[in-house]
């Protein structure tokens, strides 16, 4: 997370870390006691669920809890190194017990509409800047939704943003997700402080670069796919 700040304990209790050999590779969101939602591209290299460990809690070095993966379900239309349909669900070998520090995030209905300039948060253990260091503590940054039309302008992403993607950040750059935040949550809160998962960190050019905001997989676009795989 570029230009963010360390998250308070239990602020984002659904955030999880996907690791291979103890190295954090991607973020993910807890959507059920045995289910995570993340990006498909996280599994371009390591496709075997047995290689992965999931950790929960605000710090990587002393996790609250860990779990092994039982299975990885990648969207049927996803193709490696492409950006479309960059979504996957992960089943844990055993359910977690919820607590004040471990909770699931709400999934929005497929009809949920978010307006440009809505304030949202993205969180993760990714690099603190392009090619920068990786933190041990979870980072958070508040950014804004940018309409796909603006994001598809020539000087931004020139038409690369499809309806299954959502654009968030600032055209002025700085506050952004970064390498290692992939798969992590982009969330919005309703008027009763209930948080909904809007997006999954997917791709972007660099981190915090002007006219290159972050691109997220639009969760509402895949709401029925998620239901069909997890029954949530």
């Amino acid at each position: 997370i570029a230009d963010g700040k360390p998250a308070d304990k239990a602020s984002w209790p659904w955030q999880s870390s996907l690791q291979v050999d103890g190295v954090h590779l991607c973020g993910a969101s807890l959507i059920g006691s045995q289910w995570l939602l993340t990006s498909a591209h996280c599994f371009d290299t390591y496709k075997n669920p047995k290689l992965w460990t999931v950790s929960f809690g605000t710090t990587l070095s002393r996790p609250l809890m860990t779990r092994k993966m039982a299975s990885i379900i990648i969207h049927e239309n996803y193709a490696a190194h492409k950006h479309d349909d960059d979504i996957a669900v992960v089943k844990l070998v055993s359910p977690v017990l919820f607590s004040e520090n471990l909770r699931r995030v709400c999934l929005p209905d497929a009809t949920f509409q978010v307006l440009p300039k809505s304030k949202v948060f993205v969180t993760g253990w990714g690099a603190l800047r392009a090619n920068g260091p990786f933190p041990n503590s979870l980072q958070e940054v508040e950014i804004e939704i940018i309409s796909n039309d603006v994001c598809n302008q020539v000087n931004v992403y020139g038409g690369a943003i499809s309806s299954g993607m959502i654009c968030a950040g600032f055209l002025t750059g700085k506050l952004d997700a970064c390498e290692g935040d992939s798969g992590g949550p982009l969330v919005i809160s309703n008027d009763r402080n209930i948080w909904y998962l809007l997006g999954i960190v997917s791709w972007g050019i660099d981190c915090g670069k002007e006219n290159k905001p972050g691109i997220y997989t639009r969760v509402t676009h895949y709401r029925n796919w998620i239901k069909s795989k997890t029954n949530i």
């Binding site: 239990a10 017990l97 607590s99 909770r103 699931r104 709400c106």
Partner: protein, 185 residues
């Protein structure tokens, strides 16, 4: 007969500061012992979770009550928790009552049934008495007409639940996380 010589009074060889030190040490030890006794007897509380089931005759079950985060569900949950808050916060258990939360709504012939979890902190040496008190407070209060909650006669008394299972249920609602800083809105 020789008058036994009167032994010269042995000069007390304790210096005043030694006497003061010993008295202080004794008083300190007493204070610690009494403090520990008071702590363990009165203050060493443990968290207890109880399942309760209530009947709401005036409300019919609707499928919207099973939709997570629906306004009907969240509003009714808040209303029930507030009701239980008021009952115990105005009772002799006000210092032991922590919170309550609806975990489930069920349809029933007589209206709507609500399963709740109630969290207390009780001193270890007085749990059963206080639990009976909680039951009797609920029974007394829910008999009065002005309250819309009734005891579910099929499950009339509080039933203890283990902490991990209870915390799992209490935290199973989705989306509870950072409190949005009001100023940020």
């Amino acid at each position: 007969m020789y008058q036994p010589g009167i032994l010269g009074r042995r000069k007390c060889s304790w210096k005043p500061w030694m006497v003061a030190l010993i008295i202080t040490a004794v008083l300190l030890a007493l204070a610690i012992i009494i403090g520990l006794l008071v702590y363990f007897l009165a203050y060493d509380q443990k968290t207890y979770y109880y399942q309760a089931s209530f009947l709401i005759p005036s409300i019919k079950y609707s499928s919207d009550l099973s939709v997570e985060q629906s306004r009907l569900r969240t509003t009714l949950k808040e209303k029930l928790s507030n009701e239980i808050d008021v009952i115990f916060q105005r009772s002799s258990l006000k210092h032991h009552y922590v919170k309550s939360q609806v975990v489930n709504f069920r349809p029933s012939n007589d209206g709507l049934k609500a399963d709740m979890l109630i969290k207390f902190q009780f001193p270890l040496n007085n749990v059963d008495t206080l639990k009976r008190q909680a039951d009797s407070i609920l029974h007394k209060k829910l008999q009065s007409t002005e309250i819309f909650l009734k005891i579910d006669i099929s499950l009339p008394y509080l039933r203890e639940m283990n902490a991990a299972q209870a915390e799992n249920i209490l935290n199973s609602d989705c989306g509870l996380g950072m409190e949005y800083p009001q100023t940020a809105r």
